[in-house]
């Protein structure tokens, strides 16, 4: 009976993940030109591992992803720590969630306009006296990366924030209360009581956000297109470019397979430790 109930979902997912996964691996051993498949052996992989663009896309994904994740985590935890017992914030919490409710493509256009096309960010920074002339955000490596990082931080910090607030509010307030009666300051309570208790949830939240961040695509597609000189090309964008711009499907599939292996290793290491499927 339980197998019968779970089977439709599993079959559906296999159809949409397992079959394409196997197809991608198979395709990665071929040169594909339109409908012409020529067996290539490991040639795609040899070319891939010698391809500076490929390594650059992995590096860019890692660098932009980890910086964005670090900022998002720090800000979300700080804001959550200040907000979770605050009745005033409780009513207005939706304000902190607004960025998450925009479509990623819309957010990307918004920041493209603010940073580049309308130069609002430059203008505001000039007005407060931080810079003297407009910055060409998309023309240089780090400013372009920074633009993508900002876009991600603005949209997804709320994701971590709402999880942390939920976790903090879910904790037993009596423990905090008794610590307060013993004379502990709220900062000490947070560091020594609340924070250690929410460690598993922090891990879960970071895993989920970390996975989504490595798939960063829409903002790259809309804001930078990988420029300048490929400095903002993520691995997802690399696969897309190889597949659907140069129509080198076999080659793109080999990159997809490498990404799949990385995903599986990460999932095996982290996910099993922090998610529990059923009652023990």
């Amino acid at each position: 009976m339980p197998y019968f109930l779970v089977a439709p979902a599993v079959i559906y997912l296999m159809f949409i993940t397992l079959y394409p996964g196997v197809y991608a691996i198979y395709q990665s051993f071929f040169f594909v030109r339109f409908n012409q498949w020529t067996f290539a052996g490991l040639a795609n992989y040899q070319q891939l591992f010698a391809d500076a663009d490929f390594w650059a896309s992995l590096w860019n994904t890692f660098v932009m992803g980890s910086i964005a994740l670090a900022i998002e985590f720090t800000v979300a935890l700080t804001v959550a720590a200040f907000a979770y017992r605050d009745p005033f914030v409780r009513g207005w919490r939706i304000v902190f969630l607004l960025p998450m409710l925009f479509m990623t493509s819309a957010v990307s256009f918004m920041w493209k306009l603010a940073f580049n096309d309308a130069r609002v960010v430059s203008d505001l920074l000039t007005r407060v006296g931080l810079i003297e002339s407009n910055i060409d955000f998309l023309g240089k490596v780090w400013p372009a990366r920074f633009t993508l990082i900002m876009t991600d931080v603005w949209q997804w910090t709320p994701f971590l924030f709402i999880i942390f607030v939920g976790a903090l509010q879910g904790q037993d307030s009596e423990i905090e209360e008794s610590a307060r009666l013993d004379g502990a300051k709220w900062r000490q309570i947070f560091w020594h009581i609340s924070l250690p208790m929410m460690m598993p949830i922090i891990a879960v939240a970071l895993i989920l956000r970390g996975i989504d961040i490595t798939t960063m695509f829409a903002s790259v597609f809309i804001i930078t297109g990988g420029t300048p000189g490929g400095a903002t090309e993520t691995i997802s964008f690399f696969i897309y470019r190889m597949g659907f711009k140069t129509f080198n499907f076999g080659y793109a599939s080999s990159a997809a397979f490498v990404m799949l292996v990385i995903t599986i290793v990460v999932a095996q290491t982290f996910v099993k430790r922090f998610f529990r499927p059923g009652r023990d």
Partner: protein, 282 residues
């Protein structure tokens, strides 16, 4: 003296707290308001040598998206694809969640992890095969393709969220019903589903957020107004030589944004639990 210092400390605490919260709130809300203003302004004002902050309002963009652009099609495609995908998800996920939450059997945890692991898969990994799959099925540039793919993207999430709410239901209710001779499916339908309704609603809203955001698959699988959704249609508001039409983009963004805000207000209390797929019992 000590008293005074404590009061001062308290004041600093409050000051720092509201400074942090306030500036973060402004940082979240100000761009939203600014972008809304972009949607209500004439194009000449948006990209000018010096940014213009005090707007003159016009409904140019609003009229344009409905007359020049096939906005009605984009809206219909988004709604159909999202609603259809959620129906597929619920039909598949509710029994699966029930199975994972209420039974003990071999490979249960492995099956649960398999379902979860599909959440970890980057769209780019399967993008090319998915493209060919739908091409062979003759479903390219249709809403059906989007429905099926959104359902697949969200299925793990929906299953795990509903499962988490089903785990909370006590076994006594179920046992009592079974004593009265109810079958498993009957128990699922008349006891488990009604009690886990908050979880089902939460899963639905979160699935809708992720579906409306979906970009890569939609970009690959759609090529005309037959299947363009709001999210991908935005990238086409570039009007050739006119450059990017930001005021239209901003308005379309808000058309998708308002229903999302309303939906999230409904499930606000369940949001952190839903987003962690049940790991937080907030």
């Amino acid at each position: 003296m000590a008293m005074k210092r404590r009061r001062l400390g308290r004041f600093t605490n409050y000051f720092v707290r509201y400074l942090v919260l306030g500036s973060w709130g402004v940082f979240c809300a100000a761009p939203v308001l600014w972008f809304l203003s972009i949607g209500l302004r004439p194009r000449v004002e948006i990209i000018s040598p010096q940014p213009i902050y005090w707007p003159t309002f016009t409904l140019d963009a609003w009229n344009m998206i409905w007359s020049v652009w096939p906005m009605a099609s984009y809206l219909r495609n988004s709604l159909l694809a999202i609603a259809g995908s959620i129906v597929i998800d619920l039909v598949l996920a509710i029994p699966a969640a029930y199975s994972l939450a209420r039974y003990k059997y071999r490979f249960r945890d492995d099956i649960g992890f398999y379902i979860l692991s599909t959440r970890m898969m980057a769209p780019a990994i399967v993008a090319i095969p998915i493209f060919f799959l739908f091409k062979n099925l003759g479903l390219l540039d249709t809403v059906w393709a989007l429905m099926l793919i959104y359902a697949a993207v969200n299925l793990s999430l929906v299953t795990w969220i509903i499962r988490s709410y089903m785990l909370d239901i006590s076994y006594e209710i179920e046992d009592a019903a079974r004593m009265d001779g109810a079958t498993d499916l009957r128990i699922l339908w008349s006891i488990i589903i009604p009690i886990s309704a908050p979880g089902i609603v939460t899963a639905t809203v979160i699935a809708a957020i992720f579906a409306i955001n979906e970009f890569l698959f939609t970009l690959l699988l759609s090529s005309t107004k037959n299947a363009y959704t709001l999210s991908v249609a935005l990238a086409n508001f570039t009007g050739g030589s006119d450059g990017v039409i930001y005021n239209a983009i901003a308005l379309v963004a808000f058309i998708a944004f308002v229903p999302m805000v309303l939906l999230v207000l409904v499930i606000q209390r369940h949001l952190s639990r839903g987003l962690t797929m049940g790991a937080v019992k907030g």
